[in-house]
């Protein structure tokens, strides 16, 4: 009798469902996963090291290249950290514009998540729909910043420039269209039998298990833990808006997907309120031409699309930071991969990676 033995399969770094250069070393027994070890570093650029030889404003474009599908959130987190260190008050109008951009970017990022999940599970049409509607948001960003992906829009002390006159009508048009968009996704994906069969009751994590794996963001909330930095430690002006935090019940892959879809609706509610309250005025505080924060260190975190994004900056009083560390949510969320993949089939690992939604620019930093 030949003895059964396990074998190793490399999934990635060149594999369409790893969404970038993530390598997962799978140990398999037949088609069943015994172990899944993520290997990262293929996109490591040493951004934290580069920060030490850049001035504070020069580092903002580098933050765009961390989580490059929600770059506004990265800009926001970094600028707020420097502002905390220097105690800069940001003008009201800039605060509102920041919220609008960050929430729009959350929708764009979740649309990309939905699209990539759809294509990974073989639903090409839904993928096209998601990209089509994300395009509208990218056009809005193009209008305000001149860029579609790496905006460099939020600056230390405010935002780069006021929005053009036709921005608010264009944004209103997108918001008016949004319910119909969601209804379309509901029909094509949420209620789809195949999608439900592929996601429901797969990779279930309880709230305690999710916390024990260090998860944050939608992945943690899918397991029913009410943890959203916008609510528990409101930054900027998030305490002025009325929105709820969607939570999952079972903590399976389907909840991880559903929570993100509901979050888009909440983001639109925030944008709507911010648009109605948007005051006139300056969009940039009086900041010194040479930004030299006083010596000291500070940690600040925000809720980005993928979870808790934190910046730790050490200043030595010179125009360049002594040390910058970024707490990237995707990187720490990857800790769950091995735990949930054990015992699953290879095809389910694809679904797990899709709902985990790691962004390699952020994982590798």
């Amino acid at each position: 009798m030949p003895k059964a033995q396990t074998y190793i399969l490399n999934m990635g770094p060149q594999h369409p469902s790893t969404h970038g250069v993530l390598q997962v070393v799978l140990e398999l027994d037949g088609e069943k996963i015994i172990k899944a070890v993520p290997q990262m570093g293929y996109l490591h650029r040493g951004i934290e090291k580069l920060a030490e030889s850049r001035t504070y404003p020069q580092f903002i474009p580098y933050t765009d290249r961390l989580d490059y599908v929600s770059a506004m959130g990265n800009n926001l987190g970094y600028c707020q950290t420097v502002e905390k260190l220097m105690q800069i008050e940001v003008p009201e109008r800039a605060q509102y514009l920041r919220v609008i951009m960050a929430e729009l970017n959350r929708i764009a990022s979740h649309l990309l998540f939905m699209s990539s999940l759809a294509i990974d599970l073989g639903a090409t049409t839904a993928m096209i729909y998601g990209f089509r509607d994300r395009e509208d948001i990218l056009d809005l960003f193009d209008m305000v910043s001149g860029a579609r992906l790496t905006y460099n829009y939020i600056r230390i002390g405010g935002v780069m420039a006021d929005v053009p006159a036709d921005f608010v009508p264009a944004l209103q048009k997108f918001i008016d269209k949004f319910p119909a968009m969601m209804a379309e996704y509901e029909n094509i994906l949420m209620g789809n039998e195949i999608l439900q069969a592929r996601l429901k009751n797969i990779a279930v994590l309880s709230g305690e298990q999710a916390l024990a794996l260090g998860l944050t963001g939608p992945l943690l909330r899918a397991s029913g833990v009410d943890y959203d930095i916008r609510k528990i430690e409101p930054y900027g002006i998030y305490d002025r808006f009325d929105f709820s935090v969607p939570l999952g019940k079972t903590g399976d892959n389907f909840d991880r997907y559903a929570v993100r879809m509901q979050e888009m609706t909440e983001s639109v509610r925030i944008i709507q309120q911010a648009m109605e309250q948007l005051p006139a005025g300056e969009v940039m505080a009086k900041v010194p031409r040479m930004i030299k924060p006083p010596a000291g260190d500070v940690y600040h975190r925000i809720e980005n699309s993928r979870g808790e994004l934190g910046y730790y900056i050490v200043s030595d009083g010179t125009p360049k930071p002594y040390r910058v560390h970024v707490r990237r949510p995707s990187f720490i969320n990857l800790q769950m991969l091995d735990k949930v993949c054990r015992g699953l089939m290879i095809a389910d690992a694809v679904a797990v990676l899709a709902v985990l939604d790691p962004l390699m620019g952020e994982v590798d930093c």
């Binding site: 260090g214 430690e233 720490i332």
Partner: protein, 155 residues
């Protein structure tokens, strides 16, 4: 901005609990408790399970190279009490060794990252390998004395 991160005053009870080992640094933008590696486990045990602290989440773990010493920095948060604390572990010399906190929090990847990029050794981690740099790489790029390799020659 409402600040949930504990300031010097609210850190006093910790000082009373660890009078010898602990020092409060409250002069910067964010107050911190500074402790040496041997006393770290007792402090972390208290912060994790003590009724006044309940820091059930490790938000961030990193380290800073201050040339003559290393500072391993922990940002802990308690969702139950809505408070955060900055803990710094000061290690002298070239080869810092710090007890791992994986016993209390899921810090596996973050400790591996600090080990990889700064060369801080965490005892009791269980799987301390490089995570971003190649396995056969030598040196720790985020150290201040790190010399970046010269760019490839132009042809």
């Amino acid at each position: 901005m409402n600040d949930q991160w504990l300031d010097g005053e609210r850190l006093q009870p910790l000082q009373l609990k660890f009078p010898e080992q602990l020092e409060i640094a409250a002069d910067g933008a964010q107050a911190a408790v500074v402790i040496a590696p041997p006393a770290l486990p007792a402090l972390m045990e208290e912060l994790r399970y003590g009724a006044d602290w309940q820091f059930s989440m490790l938000s961030n773990l990193t380290a800073v190279d201050y040339k003559t010493y290393f500072m391993v920095v922990y940002h802990l948060y308690s969702p139950a009490l809505r408070q955060g604390i900055v803990v710094k572990c000061r290690c002298e010399g070239e080869n810092p060794i710090v007890p791992s906190v994986t016993h209390w929090w899921p810090a596996e990847f973050q400790e591996r990252e600090v080990y990889d990029l700064l060369g801080v050794f965490f005892t009791g981690h269980g799987d301390l390998r490089r995570i971003l740099m190649p396995d056969d790489y030598s040196g720790h790029p985020l150290r201040k004395d790190f010399q970046a390799p010269a760019r490839a020659e132009k042809r």
